[in-house]
Subunit: 334 residues, 2 copies
Amino acid sequence: VGIVNRRITLAARPVGEPTEADFALVEAPVPELGDGEVLVRTRWLSLDPYQRGRMSSARSYAAPVELGEVITGEAVGEIVESRTRRHSPGELVVGPFGWQEWATARAGSLRAVSGAAPPSTSLHVLGMTGLTAYFGLFDVARPRPGDTVVVSAAAGAVGQVVGQLARMTGCHTVGLASAGKLEDLTETYGYDTAIDYRREDLAAALKAACPHGADVYFDNVGGAVSDAVSRRLAVGARVAVCGLVSQYNLAEPELAPRNLGFLIVSRVRMEGFLVTDYRHRFPEGLGRLQRWVEEGRLTYREDVVEGLEQAPRAFIGLLRGENRGKLLVKVADA
Amino acid sequence: VGIVNRRITLAARPVGEPTEADFALVEAPVPELGDGEVLVRTRWLSLDPYQRGRMSSARSYAAPVELGEVITGEAVGEIVESRTRRHSPGELVVGPFGWQEWATARAGSLRAVSGAAPPSTSLHVLGMTGLTAYFGLFDVARPRPGDTVVVSAAAGAVGQVVGQLARMTGCHTVGLASAGKLEDLTETYGYDTAIDYRREDLAAALKAACPHGADVYFDNVGGAVSDAVSRRLAVGARVAVCGLVSQYNLAEPELAPRNLGFLIVSRVRMEGFLVTDYRHRFPEGLGRLQRWVEEGRLTYREDVVEGLEQAPRAFIGLLRGENRGKLLVKVADA
């Protein structure tokens, strides 16, 4: 193709909160296309807290990004060249393209962008964050009508979908977010109650919002906020552990009082999950999410940053909770 | 009846480890019998770690013992007088008689002692601890043949039964206990591997015993030991949280690094339970436990202390792990 591929690589393993110096913007040749592969021009990057884990060398469920390698992540791209019969130039696809303008990928790693909705939704409500909400809520937390469902990071990419799905299930929904997002919770996502998780009387606010306790806690944050919710769980409550973003930037694990007694006292089931374990059921989840979006029953909010070079700064802000909705980087126009 | 009822009451709420001064041995009249009640002469007391919680005023799943009240607990007693048609003098029954020589109880709170086995087994392998192992293992942890099952306090009243039931299920069993009980684990209870939980290289010992990780962790202790096991859990592991005895004597909650990341990394289900939630299925559990005992497939060990007045000291030792098998106080001979 003869043009330059701008990429963002891992320059250093972040210690604590990442800084822009942990990333490098480098230029490389556009990659060579192999048999069975497509060449993709990146359009949209999905920025997600789990990517912080990839920047660390600690044991996890996926291999870390090596120093000097491109930051991995899901993206929407347009196929520019294809050496597989399964895809043609001009198609928009979702794939593991990473933080770069051009990428090659094998056909088997691609998913078609949903036709009717804007392509960026395939990274959010009609993509991984929507599916995370769908399987985490319905398969792990298993809400019933009448349940009180508490969601942390409730205005975030996953949380905003969880609240709406729980409401559709006939649940009373309580969302935790920072003060500036409380109106989004109740006005946009339909939460019955919105609570500023930083308020000093969080325990009292949770008690008022959940007079009979919380039957479900969908946890995206962990830490002290989750400790407070744990103390309000009803007998038989289920905790779906989706993320622990309050912990991701800690250079050393935080010390906290051991408090697992609530598991016995309230006979709680606490379960961690990964959306990728539900891959065989993505068509089910995507089909329903798409129908609900089309019917206007499920809304979503995107927070779009322009330009590949803005990805590191936007990602640092994501871990601080500065985004308002699903954080996307627009890398190239159509 | 005209004789004296010796009772052990709560003299003070223990702060940290209980001392004998927290208990009082008092004399009271034998209680008056009401309609629908039986008068019982206590034979055996069951001493169990959960009773420590009853001595505290912290919120829990049951009301605390008030100061000056008799210590509550299960016991085997002989009916001496009956004002209900459902029971006759001479019968041995299990009931909530507490730490006293004489008690009255309503017929509905009683369970018959299993006929064939010694009466004390109705407080252990054919009683609450056997049932705790049965429902905690089969309903909460749900082992499959080929699973590696790790049990903490593996030589304790519940742990010794869990190990044998897991072995019957076709599991590889790993028991954690203090050094003096390791032989009991392998020789008496059939654990495949016994590990001293106090050894410095606990992580390495767990790694050697569970090369493919632990699929089930039946936790009776919590704390640092459970942290070590958490790091060895296999993908899809289940943790049945039965007790947290390492924490019961702490005046203030212990500070520890937050470490719940393993729930996501290994997609772990961690679930607390109370045996009393399975009351409707006690006949199922007792029937099977009894058959296995009769067939010689399930063995058990009792640690018997003689005399009601010894109960406080024995209970203090129980929380230190000094007992060897199910701790019982023999209050009166037949």
